[in-house]
Subunit: 248 residues, 2 copies
Amino acid sequence: MKTLIVEDDPLHRAYLRDAIAGSLPECQEIIEASDGLAGEQMAREHNALHIVMDLQMSTRTGIEAARSIWRERPETCILFWSNYADEAYVRGVSRIVPEGAAYGYVLKTASDQRLKLALRGIFVEGQCVIDREVRGVQQKSFSHRAGFTESEYEVLIDIALGLTDRAIAKRRSLSLRSVQNRLQQLYDKLDIYKADETGEDSSTFNLRTRAISVALLKKLLNVNSLEQAEIELAEWRSSSRTRPDQRQ
Amino acid sequence: MKTLIVEDDPLHRAYLRDAIAGSLPECQEIIEASDGLAGEQMAREHNALHIVMDLQMSTRTGIEAARSIWRERPETCILFWSNYADEAYVRGVSRIVPEGAAYGYVLKTASDQRLKLALRGIFVEGQCVIDREVRGVQQKSFSHRAGFTESEYEVLIDIALGLTDRAIAKRRSLSLRSVQNRLQQLYDKLDIYKADETGEDSSTFNLRTRAISVALLKKLLNVNSLEQAEIELAEWRSSSRTRPDQRQ
DNA sequence: CATCAAGGTGCGGGATCACGCAACCGGTGA
DNA sequence: TCACCGGTTGCGTGATCCCGCACCTTGATG
């Protein structure tokens, strides 16, 4: 059995190495990569089916790397080891995990014990191991109460990218009015109004930008997800230019 | 001589401890705190004049902690040890360092050697030690070419908070039109238009929100600075309600 | 089948934003 | 002294956004 570590911080890498050596005696070989891109290649070359991966790396996010790895070998077991349980990350991960694959999400603040249990659970037992803190976020984001539907999340990303209503409508194949409806729902759920109504002098907030601000503060959005969305947007823009306007 | 470490990651804390012990034999005592708040208190209680501090911590940002520490004891030497050289961080730091204080900014990716040199330079020689990578950012942000003036940065933050033009005008004591002018300059410098003019079909972007997006992607803004700005905004809002409208 | 809730769509209007044009003003250098 | 320049302000217009009202799907439920 072989394990790949993808993590940019050398200290954390060393720590992981120890944890793996200490909890997985059946693991004969540990290989390492210090960013997402290298991790991707190394996984391919060594045919690594057991991976521990950091999210938030500079060259290539853990999510991006994991996505292409899983596209090639969906049976790969991946343990995400991250600093944060932001909804943006959790949503990003659960969006890409293939049907029935074993994966895990444990926080870097978790104890030695927790990490080692997760390593065994995922890599030898084939379970999914998700930290309780992360579970909470996951739950919330899929319950419809104060959680966001996929479509609301879409418009949230689109306005955060700076698109106009019209552009969003085109991109998501909706009418202008529908987009605005979704925005409305978004404003409701984000509680944009709460802070505003303090004075009779309302209208201190521009709803659209305020929504972005609140989403960032509530960790629904993070800069990584924006970067990701930005490149998807660029792809869409170039593809829709070559094949312009095929509605109707 | 006594040194205080403020850092939330235990691994990094241990690493720092070694680095200090190895490079500062004159240091007899090392004390530690695992978040900004604790660091602040500990600095006060132990009257620590030599501090190594992480930026980005959960409970209280390094910047916030440093600010109140410096307010009490401006002669404190602080070495900021951070993962990133984002303009938002660099600007945040250089905004709070008191006249003539010795401080440093070194990246976590720097070599052992660099870190140890910085430790000696700041704590025993009283120099300022700024990593080259960080210098670059600092330079850029104060040269007027493609850099941002303080006032442009102000409106950038304000729109990122979600304020309307009118609200910004009131907060910064400007006319509505001036605010809009500053926005204009901001849009120019951020190159908002570049991406938009590809097709004859312009207007895919809402300038205001696009500006936020680009600023985030260019690391001019980060979520920490937003959180900080948000509490300042709350203060201003409550104070301007008690003393309402004293123009003219 | 009747009904009901969710989501998409059109219409229309009031508010806000983006921005060109023009005027003003405190400092700088010829 | 005068021309110039960067920053501020007022006026006005067209584009965009926010959002209430009303209608129409579609799938689920009694």
